[in-house]
Amino acid sequence: MRRPLMQAMLGLALPLAAARAQWTTVYDQFYLPAAHNFTFRREYPAADRLFNAFDYGHAILYEVLWTDPAGAPARLEGDLYRHLTTRVLSRPPRLPLVEDAIEPRYARLAPEAKAMFEWAHLLHRQVYDVLADERLDRAAKDREMARLLAYYRSRPDLAFSVQPKNMSLMQERPYSLAFRQGFPKFNGLIWAYHWLQVGLYEPLVVGRSAEERQAGVAATVARFRQMLPEAPGGFPVMMPMTAAIAPTFATRYPAIAIVFDNLHSMHDVISDILANASVPRAEKRARILEAARAYRDDTTEVMTVAGWRRMSLGMGLENQGGSAVGFLPALPAPTMPRGMVMRYDREGNPLGGHDHHQ
């Protein structure tokens, strides 16, 4: 009598425990209202539209990896890659997209991680707005950037850490590297997205006039498009680091640059978790939430800021897609194989003889 009762209670408790594990109360929050809202969209529409296309690429990637793991390699490296590079990037959407509608099932798997990305993407967009606003002088831009960062960090449940994270968090977990090894074209495309997303900050901060900024942004966008026909050869072979691609921006706004590197790193981590068949489907949510916590906290796998800069440069600018401004006509020739893992200590010193200088 007691045993059936225990079994019945257990039968009730297990679904309740499962439901509790799925009960999430993450919520959205409005962007920081300011006079510079949507300035980048007005002043640089071609670049702004590309970011809408990037949102689509990120979202469809996760949706396919989660819902069709068996078919994902063929789809992502085949039809979907072609669709993205020949259709979506050629005629990017004019409005920011609702990612829930593109990745409805992934969004249900990890709404917390999705919300972290959306919150960081809002910061991305608002930083462009500030830097593109010609009404703001340098001091005013610095003040607005500080305000953006403060508002971003007012959501500790969503905000990426402003402490740089060691690449080991991305490259040395049991599930690491699955995406870059199994999906070289799509992985390269994602890194090219990230190259442009951080790279565009550089012409906006180094341009000395509105005309220079316009010309610089146009050149950086053209450079991104130059990468596409030679895929994956033209794409970065390593994750682009903001301190390497946009060094002036990263020097002036290091905390924001670190947030974006942590964001882009976690993008890769989630791709690995979803792509790696050794992570059981029932555990993928837990692994994603673990990674999300690690990228939010200020303690896990932290580097010094100087070490982050040293590591970023040590990985080799030419391996990360090259400079975003003042580049030569030809794409840079990488010095390392695609997706190679290089290890660094917290001061950015190379470990294990993987320094790229050859």
């Binding site: 959205d28 819902t67 959407p93 997209l97 609702v98």
Partner: protein
């Protein structure tokens, strides 16, 4: 006088009912549907924290079987005052233009609504929201007493689209037959909607079926069907249109809704760090 108002209401207010009568529940983009924008059945996702949404010209045109036309306008403002919680205020206006009668416009109550989303949707759980709203006796076409309604909203997302289930219940005595709100107040109502999003076009289309029992003794439940579209026009402006028809339990009528929602947030509201400008 009361008879006249009741007649006007009987022609004008079904338009508001078809539009959800109380059109609170603003959202900041086309994907998060509001009550009556474009379908009566809404999703369980509330407006973002600290966001405001102004419903611009949310218009309803109704054609009753007798050929009488009614117009409804329900300007509203919603505010994401707390995480997953929104407060809304609406002031429905009704216009009538029936053959042989003088056109008439009047306020049809004032509505205050609180909607709280309990959770975000996950792999196993739909999103749930609970709401309470009060339609206050304001204006010639408002109810004779405050009508308080509690409601629940559920949203489940699938690969093809989303399914929404709404239910509402209004406690208290039945309204008198001559009450101005008699044609849109319901003892209970339920709605089931399906929508699909064309993500790259920032456009949503949906269909629904609803049923509502009027808050009058002995009245039959009214069945309606509807279809609607909502589209993002600019990053801050969403437009919508819907078409509804009574299928049973009431006089045959069509109604058309159109509207636009503008999202914003005053920079000086608490919670936003102060800037130099």
């Amino acid at each position: 006088m009361l008879t006249l108002l009741a007649r006007i209401a009987s022609r004008a207010m079904p338009a508001l009912l078809a539009a959800g009568a109380s059109t609170l529940g603003a959202q900041t983009d086309f994907y998060n549907t509001d009550r009556a924008r474009p379908l009566v059945t809404e999703d369980a996702v509330v407006i973002e924290r600290r966001a405001f949404e102004l419903q611009l010209a949310p218009l309803t045109l109704t054609r009753a079987a007798a050929g009488a036309y009614g117009w409804g306008l329900a300007p509203e403002l919603a505010w994401g005052l707390a995480p997953r919680t929104q407060l809304g205020i609406a002031l429905p206006l009704a216009f009538t233009d029936a053959a042989g009668a003088r056109p008439r416009a009047a306020i049809a109550g004032a509505e205050v609504e609180l909607l709280h989303q309990l959770n975000a949707e996950s792999t196993t759980l739909p999103a749930f929201a609970l709401g309470v709203d009060a339609l206050l006796p304001v204006g010639p076409l408002g109810p004779a007493r405050t009508l308080t309604t509690v409601r629940t909203v559920l949203t489940r997302t699938h690969g093809w689209g989303r399914l929404h289930l709404n239910g509402a219940w209004t406690p208290g005595d039945a309204l008198a037959p001559g009450d101005a709100a008699v044609d849109h107040a319901a003892r209970w109502s339920a709605g089931l909607a399906l929508d699909h999003t064309f993500a790259l076009r920032s456009t949503l289309v949906g269909v629904e079926a609803t049923v509502a029992e009027p808050l009058v003794d002995g009245a039959d439940a009214v069945w309606r069907a509807g279809a609607g579209l909502r589209r993002q026009a600019t990053p801050r402006l969403a437009v919508d249109a819907g078409l509804h028809r009574v299928l049973g339990g009431g006089s045959a009528e069509w109604s058309l809704t159109m509207g636009a929602a503008f999202a914003f947030a005053p920079a000086r509201m608490p919670g936003f760090p102060r800037g130099a400008r």
